[in-house]
Structures are given as structure tokens and as C-alpha cells.
């Protein structure tokens, strides 16, 4: 009886601690949101909604519009996603369904290492190896040969988010039940036909979830992007242009901003990025629920 009581006591403590921890997370999110709103208030007051759709970013004349960065973030992220998705899908199918464990396990391990490399190292690597390649491409296409720019940033992002999309997709492909694969083989389907018509449709919601996770990371990625995007605060006209993302402009200008309204404008960009990330995740959740195999 005594033992039981002690058990109940610890049970109770444990429940209380975990409840507090869970509430703390919600508090943290709300706290960050409130801080961003307070700190960006001078900018919100000065520019209102105009902040979102004007394109002039001029600290000297104290005119701030965030559209170039919004475009920069969305363009580089989605371009990165378009580049990374086919590789992620192919890799996930290979590691989850085709490769024997002897081969799949070491490759998966190395891929997870890839996800752990600090962003600044990707940035350095991109400066030395991707920039010359992009410059060569730009000469081929008759674009100004900066080497840096939106396209280079998208390439780095694509490489950085690939392990995320790939490992989630691989895990869900591995979870496809053996018996429906056998049903397909039993009907005379080849491995390719089974993958195309049975495995991928079954795993589609998880594959999409992995892509969204990758997108979330691409939207917020700062260091590597700041190093290769060219840091030009004007509306980009093509993917070869120099540009800035929301994250890169904050990283780039925050230490130099002396005017209060400049600082507030940068924080407001942070607030926008926060809101966009939340919206993207909400939409993705809805799509994942709709795609789910019942």
C-alpha cells in the first residue's frame, strides 16, 4: 500500500512537470510573437500594410518596403524545393525499397551526417564550388556573370534541404505494408510498376510531409543564403539576379542599423517571416490530412 502511494505521488509530480513543459512551449511561441510585434511597432505604425507590397528599401531616406525580400524568400525556397524534390523522391525510393540494407544503411548514415553540417560550411563550399559553376552557366545563358545570386542560393538550399525531405520520404516508404506490395507482385507487376502505382501513392502523405519540413527549413535558412545571394535590396527580375531573402537581409543589416525605424523594419521582416512560416505549415498540415490513406 505504501509503495502504491509513493507511486501515485511520483505519477502526480511527473504529470504536473510535463504539463508545465508543454504549456511553456505555447508560451514561448506567443512570447516570441509579442516581442516581434512590440519591437517592430515603429515600422508598423509608419508604413502600415504598404510595408508588404512596396519595393523600395532605402535606409538613407527612411523608406522601407519588404516585397523584394518576400519575393526573394519565396522564390529561392520554392526553386530549391523544385530542384530537391526529384532527387529526394528517387533517393528515398532507392534507400527505402530497392537497395539492400547492406547498402542502404551506410548511405542513410552519411545522409544524416549531411543534415548536421553547419550552414556556414555549406556557404563556404558554395562560394568556392557553386559560384564558378553558376557563373559559367550565366555566361552560357547570356546573363550577367555574377556567380552569386538567387539561383546560387536556391542551389545551396536545395542541397541543404535534400536530407530532410529524403529521410522522411524513405521512412514512410519503408512503412508501406509488405502485403500490398505482394498483392501487386502477385498480379504480375514489375518492381517499377509496384513502386509507381502502389508504394508511392500509399506513402504520398508522408512524402509530402517531408517536402514541407524541407520547405520550412528553406524559408528560414540564413547563413549560407546570406553568403551567396549577393545581398542586393531591390526587386529581382530574374533568377540570375542578385537579391536578398527575409532572413538574409536581417542577418546582413541588423548590426549596421542605427536608425530606430530601420531596426524596427528589420524586426517587422522577422515578424512577416514568422507569419509566413506558420501559414505554410498550416496549409501543409491540411494537405497532409487530405492525402492520408484511410
Amino acid at each position: 500500500m505504501k509503495f502504491n502511494l509513493a507511486g501515485q505521488f511520483y505519477d502526480d509530480i511527473f504529470r504536473k512537470i510535463s504539463t508545465v513543459m508543454a504549456l511553456l512551449i505555447i508560451g514561448l511561441v506567443i512570447g516570441i510573437f509579442i516581442t516581434l510585434v512590440i519591437e517592430s511597432w515603429p515600422s508598423i505604425k509608419a508604413f502600415g500594410l504598404r510595408f508588404i507590397w512596396t519595393t523600395t528599401w532605402d535606409p538613407v531616406s527612411r523608406e522601407f518596403g519588404a516585397l523584394p525580400f518576400l519575393v526573394g524568400t519565396l522564390l529561392t525556397s520554392f526553386l530549391a524545393l523544385i530542384i530537391a524534390t526529384p532527387f529526394a523522391l528517387a533517393g528515398a525510393i532507392f534507400l527505402g525499397e530497392i537497395a539492400p540494407p547492406r547498402l542502404a544503411n551506410p548511405i542513410s548514415f552519411i545522409m544524416e551526417l549531411l543534415a548536421g553540417i553547419p550552414s556556414v560550411i555549406y556557404g563556404l563550399w558554395a562560394l568556392f564550388y557553386l559560384v564558378p559553376i553558376v557563373r559559367w552557366l550565366e555566361i552560357k545563358f547570356g546573363a550577367p556573370p555574377f556567380g552569386l545570386g538567387m539561383f546560387t542560393a536556391s542551389l545551396v538550399l536545395a542541397i541543404m534541404i535534400l536530407p530532410y525531405a529524403l529521410s522522411v520520404a524513405r521512412d514512410v516508404i519503408k512503412l508501406v505494408p509488405q502485403d500490398i506490395k505482394e498483392a501487386a507482385y502477385g498480379l504480375g507487376a514489375t518492381r517499377w510498376e509496384t513502386i509507381l502505382h502502389v508504394i508511392v501513392p500509399y506513402a504520398r502523405s508522408g512524402i509530402f510531409a517531408g517536402i514541407v519540413l524541407a520547405l520550412g527549413r528553406a524559408l528560414g535558412e540564413t547563413m549560407a543564403v546570406t553568403m551567396v545571394i549577393g545581398n542586393r535590396s531591390a526587386m529581382p527580375h530574374s533568377i540570375w539576379d542578385l537579391g536578398n531573402t527575409m532572413a538574409s537581409v536581417i542577418a546582413n543589416e541588423f548590426t549596421e542599423a542605427t536608425e530606430d525605424v530601420h531596426l524596427a523594419a528589420l524586426v517587422e521582416i522577422g515578424l512577416l517571416l514568422f507569419v509566413i512560416t506558420v501559414i505554410v505549415n498550416l496549409i501543409a498540415r491540411l494537405i497532409i490530412i487530405r492525402l492520408k490513406v484511410k
Binding site: P177, A183, G186, G188, V198
Partner: protein
């Protein structure tokens, strides 16, 4: 009914199947008659499922699995054919109902065509779907909900859907691996009745460890024990007058 007078559809010669170094079935020689129900019986681990999975070369999908000997399907050694071709001619129904969860009932029935990239004209597709569902005794229950997901059906209905899916590609043989073991008694009985009707259309080879079931539905019974084919003959004969003591012991429940 004697085995000698019936046309033979499957004949194995010295068939052995392995998982890595383990020999799961040993030197099987059997002749399976056409358009009859042949039951494979025996205790768990006796090799009956391995044997049936050799007949459509599904055994080879397991890593480390291999087959020696020969299996003749109408005098063609299927071990020398493309497994894809073999599996089109020899359909299979599994232990657990496994309709494709991403497909509707209609799509499930025609999955054999879709998977292989065969496009049927609309009316022909409708005809095949109705024919297969009628053969599987499911048509009346699903004709108004053809475009709902297959997994929405009850377990017994799902299994009949899987039978329809296998029949739709018009196989010569239908292999069934304990098709009623995951079902309730009423659904099991429906499937049993269906099997008896289906032998007009297709040869059936069924694995079961349910002795009364084998007695009710099969024309011939093979008794497997420890990877060997112990005895094979007309069901009535094998049940009433087993020649091998091991068969008799199994039938009288001395081991299971």
C-alpha cells in the same frame, strides 16, 4: 474420382525451396489436376505456404530464397519463364485481405490491368469488373458503391474483392494462402462456397490448416510435414483411409 484420368495443370519434379541454407520444402513431386480444388494441409512450418509461393514464383521475392527442381505449368517449366508472365497466369489470394488502400473498389478489381499499364476501353473495363465481381459473389453488395475505397468494406468483402481482383486478369490457376484465416465464421463460409463454385472457371490450390474446411471444399488433398509431401490423393480417400501413419496422426489430432 481418380487422379490418373484428370488433365494435369501443374507438375513439379524434385522441387526444393530454400531460405538461405534452410531447406523449407524437400524434393516435392506432385501433379495438380485442372479445374479441381486441391488443398494443401499440414502443421505450421510444414512448408505448405512456401510450396504455394513457388507456384507463382513469389517465393523468390524473399531475400536469400531460391528454388531447385522444376515446376511445369501445362508442360512449360515456369522456372525458365519470366516471373511476371507466370504471375499473370497464376493468381494469388493472401492470408489477410489486402486491397490497395489508395484505390476504389472498381480500381481494385481492375488493378491487374492498371499496374501493367494496359488501358482497357471503358465498356470492356466495366464488363470485366462486373464479371469478376459477380464471380466473387460481391457484385450485388458493391454495385452502387464501386467508387468508394476498397478498404471501406468489411473483412470478408475485402477478401472477396481480392478474389475478384485476381480473377479479373483471367488466370489459369488461383492460389489461395489460408484465405479465411483472418475472417469471421460467416465470411469464411461465404468464401468456401465461392471456392466450390469457382472451380468451374479456374483451378484452385488452397493452403489451409483447417481440416474440416479442406474436407468441405477440396477434391484432392496433399499433406505436408516437415517440408515433405507425405501423402496426396482424393480428399475423401485421404481423410477416411490415410496410407501414411503421419497423416493419420495429424488427422486424429495427435499433433497440429
Amino acid at each position: 474420382m481418380s487422379l490418373e484420368r484428370l488433365p494435369i495443370i501443374f507438375r513439379t519434379e524434385d522441387l526444393c525451396a530454400y531460405y538461405e541454407d534452410f531447406m523449407a520444402i524437400k524434393h516435392i513431386n506432385i501433379k495438380i489436376p485442372q479445374k479441381q480444388v486441391t488443398a494443401l494441409m499440414g502443421p505450421s512450418g510444414c512448408g505448405k505456404t512456401t510450396f504455394i509461393r513457388c507456384l507463382n514464383r513469389l517465393h523468390e521475392l524473399t531475400p536469400g530464397a531460391r528454388i531447385t527442381g522444376s515446376i511445369y505449368l501445362r508442360d512449360q517449366n515456369i522456372l525458365q519463364l519470366d516471373p511476371i508472365v507466370v504471375r499473370r497466369r497464376v493468381g494469388m489470394v493472401f492470408q489477410r485481405p489486402n486491397p490497395f488502400p489508395t484505390m476504389t473498389i472498381y480500381e481494385n478489381v481492375l488493378a491487374g490491368y492498371k499496374l501493367l499499364g494496359i488501358r482497357l476501353p471503358r465498356n470492356e473495363a466495366d464488363e470485366i469488373a462486373e464479371w469478376a465481381l459477380r464471380k466473387a459473389a460481391l457484385w450485388e453488395e458493391v454495385k452502387d458503391i464501386l467508387h468508394r475505397r476498397g478498404t471501406f468494406l468489411s473483412g470478408g468483402q475485402q477478401q472477396r474483392l481480392c478474389i475478384a481482383r485476381a480473377l479479373a486478369v483471367k488466370p489459369e490457376v488461383l492460389l489461395m494462402d489460408e484465405p479465411t484465416s483472418a475472417l469471421d465464421p460467416k465470411s469464411s463460409l461465404q468464401i468456401e462456397n465461392l471456392i466450390v463454385e469457382l472451380k468451374e472457371t479456374v483451378t484452385i490450390v488452397i493452403v489451409t490448416h483447417n481440416m474440416p474446411q479442406a474436407g468441405r471444399i477440396s477434391d484432392f488433398t496433399a499433406f505436408f510435414y516437415l517440408g515433405e509431401l507425405v501423402e496426396f490423393g482424393p480428399t475423401a480417400e485421404l481423410f477416411t483411409n490415410p496410407k501414411d501413419p503421419r497423416t493419420e496422426e495429424y488427422l486424429t489430432g495427435k499433433f497440429s
